[in-house]
């Protein structure tokens, strides 16, 4: 038998029932209020999101259409976002250009963004897809895909990706406000700007000096990565193929782009480059490899701001090379349209 005490004195039963009803009503009202605020805020953000021309994702969906008509859209990670200047690309190719590169994103995100852009009435001539060997060898944090949450009702791809990104996303997405988690800063300022503002290029600043190169070399040597399961690599490659297939279904050409790195670990990349080359060959799409082995200019540390990213000067160099190759491809298509995979195409949009 316990000789324990009780922590609260007991009121009369009738008083207690009335008191409980009051509390239940209070809690229910509070929760109802929370639900109403959630719907209201969610609706507000959803309505305002169509005006956003700042940040990523919402900006891409809102601004890219203005540049898509017969133009070029560049997809990729930060190594596209900060490496390809759309203005230089536009000036040198004579086509409008939009850079839809998104920091820290991988092919699954680009696929979802591609689907969102394909919902637009305008069609570009060319998709440039920046590839990364690490993209198929090293999984990126799934949580990055949550930036697609505002679009999960608009695209099955976006919805799938968001739900995959968090095991509890299926509950969280019931909150309309949650879909704009960590995105509200994109509303600031952006809504006052024009689409031209949304197409501005933001090169990275800074230069790698000897000390920083040495430090980065030391760190990269110490780091290790978990090898990616084979089935995930296969799935990533399959997504690249889907990207190409969907572009073709919409009469859009695809050029694949592999950029340079100042420092790389071949054991991280493994045979990913070979797999990408093989995939490009099988799909008959041009694969432009601007790596530092083929282009000595990219061995110069002063064109980099860190071991993975070019600075503004490097970006101009890379964009120039990309433009040259797009022009070459365009003209070679004019002369040898059979050279590229045109079998299913009524006409060459680059011509």
């Amino acid at each position: 038998m316990d000789n324990s005490s009780t922590s609260s004195s007991k009121p009369l039963p009738g008083t207690r029932v009335v008191e409980s009803r009051t509390h239940v009503l209070r809690v229910a009202t509070f929760l109802l209020g929370a639900l109403l605020i959630d719907r209201g805020l969610g609706w507000l953000f959803q309505s305002a999101s169509t005006q956003v021309v700042h940040g990523e994702t919402m900006k891409h969906v809102n601004v890219a259409p203005a540049y898509m008509r017969d133009g070029i859209v560049v997809f990729g990670s930060s190594r596209a976002a900060h490496h390809v200047d759309p203005q230089v690309l536009s000036d040198q190719t004579g086509l409008t250009a939009y850079n839809a590169g998104s920091n820290g994103q991988s092919i699954s995100f680009h696929r979802a963004l591609q689907e969102l852009l394909l919902q637009q009435p305008e069609r570009p001539r060319l998709f440039v897809l920046q590839l990364d060997a690490l993209d198929i060898n090293r999984p990126l944090p799934a949580v990055r895909s949550l930036v697609l949450a505002p679009f999960m009702d608009r695209s099955a791809e976006a919805r799938k990706l968001v739900l995959q990104s968090d095991p509890r996303a299926w509950i969280k997405q019931l909150s309309l406000t949650w879909r704009f988690n960590s995105l509200i800063h994109q509303f600031s300022g952006g809504m006052r700007s024009t689409p031209e503002h949304g197409n501005q290029f933001h090169p990275l600043s800074g230069v790698m000096d000897e000390r920083r190169v040495a430090e980065a070399t030391r760190r990269i040597a110490q780091q290790s990565i978990e090898p990616r399961p084979v089935e995930e690599t296969t799935a990533a490659l399959e997504m690249h193929r889907d990207f190409i297939r969907r572009a073709r279904e919409n009469n859009i050409d695809v050029v694949l782009l592999v950029g340079p790195r100042l420092l790389r670990r071949s054991d991280w990349e493994g045979d990913a480059v070979l797999l990408l080359q093989q995939m490009a060959a099988e799909e008959h799409v041009p694969l432009l490899q601007f790596d530092e082995d083929k282009y000595p200019v990219f061995r110069d540390p002063t064109v980099y701001c860190d071991k993975d990213h070019l600075n503004g000067r490097g970006a101009t160099l890379l964009t120039g090379l990309l433009s040259d190759h797009i022009r070459e491809i365009s003209s070679s298509r004019g002369q040898h349209s059979a050279h590229l995979n045109q079998a299913n195409r009524p006409e060459d949009p680059l011509r």
Partner: protein, 475 residues
């Protein structure tokens, strides 16, 4: 199962619903079973360690209490301490100890390979080990009666809200609370859920957001300038505070929903005016544990000034080592020890100096707060840096005055600043009124609800998704 996950809140809700339906005498069974389930969600095998610790300390405490023979009592105390510290050493300090000896052997060119134990550190081992040690010591000192109900004693060790990261509760308060019949109380619901919401706010809105920036800087030492390191160190100071105090708030709130009061672990530590004051406000359950079970038994301040300083230093070094098995934590603890000693030695002189200057009290306190905060930041560099060389590189960059504009992740900083402003206002109110909740309760209901809605939607809108574990889980 993390406190900042939906899984935890579903689990907590289920526990609460069943808890209040059960007859009082059966509730310990539910709490014990769910506490073990909570722990086993992380690692089922390591729950056996807790069972072992519980069994040893349960019987040791009974033997200590029932025996009048001092030798037998000492023997049982030694058995309990050896098993507790032995387990802690094996799982937490083995590789550090032998690794350090290995480095020394290397330095002396001795051909010796230190033994290496490839084991995972059991989550919360430092917390529950200290909790159970304090129980046995209190029984030995005859400050408390031993708990004869094995299940309730096991629950004292494993009570899930505070199992993995404290607060390190004392048997004098938690065991009686676990014995008491707690009826459903609406106030407990309000207080508990508000505490949880504020803890969640600190964790996901502030700590995890600042963590993004801190990881980016401290993970790339050698790539940034002094201004950036300084900013990242400030960010880490608030990250670790919000991470740990956020966890403690959720723990206290969760226990409150079950009618049980846990101790407050933090009291606005960055408003401290000196290091001694800081340790009265920071991780209170650990600092009071170290005081009661280490510093005072060593002699405290009742012995010669030199011995007192040695004791203080030893206490803080061991306190540092408690956090983690690395030289960084030893240095962190040593720094705290040195600063405490200097504080003890100079506080009277400084008080006299301030008085002679005729500076208003508010200005004196503000200056002291700023200095104390920066002293804490200095030690946080060692706490956060991945290695000693990284810590020295960071401090070197700051000291050399590389004052070019810092690397900023603007969105990250803006989100964190929004949270920090709310936190600082809340802390200021708490420090002035004793309780922010009491202050809020005096406002009209619309203001109260607006505050709670704001916190809730800041968590939803600006909380970091998929954020990781609490920093103190690794200790």
């Amino acid at each position: 199962m993390l406190f900042n996950s939906i899984d935890y809140f579903v689990f907590l809700l289920a526990v609460i619903l069943v808890y209040y339906q059960l007859p009082y005498r059966h509730r310990w069974i539910l709490l014990l079973a769910t506490s073990y389930y909570f722990y086993m969600c992380w690692n089922a095998f390591y729950a056996l360690l807790i069972v072992l610790t519980t069994a040893i300390d349960y019987f040791a405490a009974l033997r200590i209490h029932d025996s009048e023979n001092p030798r037998a009592r000492n023997w049982w105390l030694a058995a309990s301490m050896t098993s507790n510290l032995g387990l802690l050493f094996s799982f937490k300090y083995w590789n550090f100890f032998w690794g350090s000896l290995g480095l020394a052997a290397d330095a002396l060119s001795l051909p010796w390979q230190p033994p290496y134990l490839d084991v995972l550190l059991p989550v919360g081992i430092s917390f529950y080990t200290f909790q159970t040690m304090s129980y046995v010591i209190d029984v030995y000192r005859r400050h408390i009666e031993p708990e004869r109900h094995f299940g309730r004693f096991a629950l004292f060790i494993t009570f899930f809200p505070q199992l993995v990261a404290g607060p390190i509760e004392r048997a004098t308060t938690l065991i009686p609370a676990l014995r008491t019949n707690h009826d459903w109380n609406w106030d407990h619901l309000y207080i508990g859920s508000q505490k949880i919401l504020f803890g969640l706010f600190k964790k996901v809105v502030i700590a995890d957001r600042l963590g993004i920036y801190v990881d980016a800087i401290y993970g790339n030492v050698g790539q940034h300038n002094g201004t950036t390191y300084l900013l990242a160190t400030y960010a880490f100071a608030f990250q670790i505070y919000c991470d740990f105090s956020g966890y403690s708030d959720i723990a206290v709130g969760s226990a409150k929903l079950l009618g049980i009061d846990l101790m407050e672990n933090f009291r606005q530590p960055y408003l401290a005016t000196n290091i001694r004051d800081f340790w009265r406000r920071w991780h209170i359950s650990l600092s009071t544990w170290l005081r009661d079970y280490l510093y005072i038994p060593l002699g405290g301040s009742r012995i010669s000034p030199l011995r007192t300083q040695v004791n203080l230093m030893l206490t803080m070094v061991l306190g540092g080592l408690w956090h983690g098995a690395s030289w960084n934590f030893v240095i962190w603890g040593s720094l705290q020890g040195v600063m405490l000693i200097v504080c003890h030695q100079t506080i009277e002189h400084r008080d006299r100096l301030w008085a002679s200057l005729g500076v208003p009290n508010w200005l004196r306190d503000a200056v002291r707060m700023v200095i104390t905060f920066h002293l804490c930041c200095l030690s946080w560099v060692f706490f956060r840096a991945a290695s000693l060389s990284d810590a020295m590189e960071i401090l070197g960059s700051i000291a050399q005055g590389e004052w070019s504009p810092p690397f900023l992740q603007l969105a990250t900083i803006v989100y964190a600043m929004m949270g920090l402003v709310v936190l600082l206002v809340a802390e200021k109110i708490q420090s002035q009124r004793g309780s922010g909740r009491d202050w809020l309760n005096e406002r009209p209901w619309a203001v109260r609800w607006a505050v709670w809605y704001s916190l809730m939607f800041m968590v939803i809108l600006t909380g970091v998704q998929g954020s990781g574990q609490f920093i103190y889980f690794q200790f």
